[in-house]
């Protein structure tokens, strides 16, 4: 573990502690306004955790909606109620054994569900290819090289790591070169882009780092170079091997306006219903004369 990872771990645990501590303060504080302000710590830490996972759009949306909207409204509602200056009405009931057990059960079932459904594997699926009679396994990783990148998946930085695994090299290989291309060379010359990178062959896994990738869809092929001759391998033909995005705003927008459009609209109808309901409850009684 290098210095960078230590720093990031410290940051992660500090944020996680702040989130949990804030949540505990929300639940145990005897003053309802203080509870509401403790919620600020929870929401901000959660946003920071999103940012740490490079979900920049989600982090900003979290702060914008939860802190700027919902938390302000909660505090507002609390302050608009009677006797705002001495609010000491909150959390009078101490958690009984039943509530404690119920919470533990919920936590346990949550952990079980996450353990058995979440995909923990961080290595991507390897693509098998044959080069000069040898089995070659190709895989692609996100920028830091520890998290896998699915085929056709999204890379959120301008760097992608290609891993080439050769278990039994038949011929002598010295160098591995990867050429990534964007666009069509013949059809559209202005939009065509090419990035080349190479690494010394390692008789296990060779990692080649492609840098300064522009946004958009990329395809790549690897060349194993040796004194006996070159052999070329590439992932099977498809739309794109990976797509580079700068930030996650575009993928989120694409998902919301594409496959999840219906769900998105249904949620907005729900919000509209809530709005109409609130207006109905808050309106003045109109008496018929």
């Amino acid at each position: 573990m290098d210095a960078g990872e230590i720093v990031l771990n410290v940051v992660f645990y500090a944020l996680a502690a702040a989130a949990v501590g804030g949540a505990v303060a929300v639940a145990t504080s005897r003053n309802i306004v203080r509870s509401a302000f403790a919620l600020l710590a929870v929401l901000f830490s959660a946003a920071a955790l999103y940012a740490l996972m490079k979900a920049d759009f989600i982090a900003a949306a979290q702060v914008l909606i939860y802190v700027g909207g919902i938390l302000v409204l909660i505090i507002f509602a609390v302050m608009l109620t009677h006797r705002i200056t001495d609010v000491k009405l909150s959390n009078d009931s101490t958690p009984g054994p039943a509530a404690f057990c119920a919470c533990l059960c919920l936590l346990f079932s949550l952990v079980v569900v996450i353990l058995f459904t979440a995909k923990w594997e961080r290595k991507p699926q390897e693509i098998r290819a044959i080069a000069a009679g040898t089995e070659v396994f190709l895989s692609q990783y996100q920028a830091d090289g520890s998290t896998g990148l699915e085929r056709g998946g999204s890379a959120f930085e301008d760097t992608v790591v290609i891993a080439v695994r050769v278990d039994r090299p038949l011929q002598k290989v010295e160098l591995v070169e990867v050429v990534a291309e964007q666009g069509d060379k013949e059809k559209d010359k202005d939009k065509y882009k090419k990035v080349t990178a190479k690494a010394v062959f390692d008789p296990g896994v060779t990692r080649i780092t492609l840098e300064n990738l522009a946004e958009g869809e990329w395809r790549w092929k690897a060349t194993l170079k040796g004194s006996d001759g070159d052999s070329e391998v590439s992932p099977p033909a498809g739309k794109a091997d990976f797509v580079v995005y700068r930030g996650i705003t575009e993928p989120v927008a694409m998902a919301l306006a594409g496959p999840y459009l219906f769900a998105f609209e249904v949620v907005s109808v729900l919000l509209l219903a809530a709005l109409v309901g609130a207006a109905f409850l808050a309106r003045k009684e109109v008496r018929e004369a």
Partner: protein
Amino acid sequence: MTVIALASAPWGLEITGLPVLDAFLCIFTVCFMLINFIAVYAGVSTLMERKIAAHMQARVGPYRVGPHGALQWAADALKLMIKEDIIAKETDHFLFRLSPYVVFAGSFACWVALPYMPGWSPANFNIGILYLLAVSSAVVIGILMAGWSSGSKWALFGAMRSAAQIVSYEVPIGLTLLGMLLIYGTLDMQQISMAQEHGLPFGVMGDIQGGLWSWGINRYGPITFIAFLIYYIGALAETNRTPFDIPEAESELVAGYHTEYSGMRFSFFFLSEYANMFVVSAIATTFFLGGWLPPFPTLHAAICSIVGAVALGGLAYGFKKRGFDGTVGVMIGSGLGVLYSVVTGPHGDVHEFGFLAPAGIGRMIEGVFWFSGKCFALIFLMIWLRWTLPRYRVDQLMDLCWKKLTPLAFVNLVLIGVLETRSEWMKLIMDKLKAGGP
């Protein structure tokens, strides 16, 4: 053991050789510089405010410290620092101490995402404007915190008014910015600035460097101009400036949400208010006034504009007694100059001041000059309005926001959307024509 996967330093700089440590050092350096800049900037703008106010009321203003009172702000800052820090008995001590930091952090965090010069912001976010809108919401929370924890009715009322006002005016502001985002198609503040370099209003002559004619405010003629007005009015309300300063109304609420604060804690609120003024002006500059782009893209345009402006300004000065204002003359003159240079075509590139400095740095200095110049012009306008207009009442304020600005902003959004799709159609039709008839 790896808990989180994250890449190394985003900065191409090597200090210690350890990427993450380098990144942290860079961040600390930039933040240190920015905080100091905010402190000095806020001080200077208080002096600016007092001097402008004084001259508008035919007084001289602060005059004793330094030449013409130019060092008054430093004396004020020193006074605030050594003043006694009073915490009243009835306050909620923890929240009372915390809230100045929350408010200041909210406005300071905005400063790192502003596009000060071509290609460089302290933190070049992909989600620029969204981040700015998000972190500035911490200010509302901090104000509510200050008002409630003070344990005073004046402070609480001030805080409630302020929060209600900020939350309400976020609606028209958000809608106008959304309309402009339809035009630019990006949330990145740098790219928004860059997008205003070419084109004339209504998409006429797309690839020409139109100077101030290609800025966001002129993009769709009157529509984007109204968007700018809505944004600016909303920004005045967001920063609690006159005519929307009911949260601090001295005649009703003593001093609003910071009534109970004194010394350094008070000065944090003060700094935050002036920092916020700069931030909203910077957003207006980036979205509507071309960010760091110069108003006159070529030397030719600059000369034409200056000659036209001087000529018309002089003419206007002669007619001043008949009610024709000199500033109008200068504005019309510079506009005509740009229009002339656009019509006659580009005559050289002034973007790179090759004779002043190496090309890149010259462009950066130029960018900083224009960006801060536009921001300070908008801040001057805010100060001007403060000493010109009377204060709104609470109900008038809400009436203006919900019944006038919000519907107007909606109409604006729809119109910009229609015009944007129209230009998409235009492009399609042009492509069809180029390809050889329909």
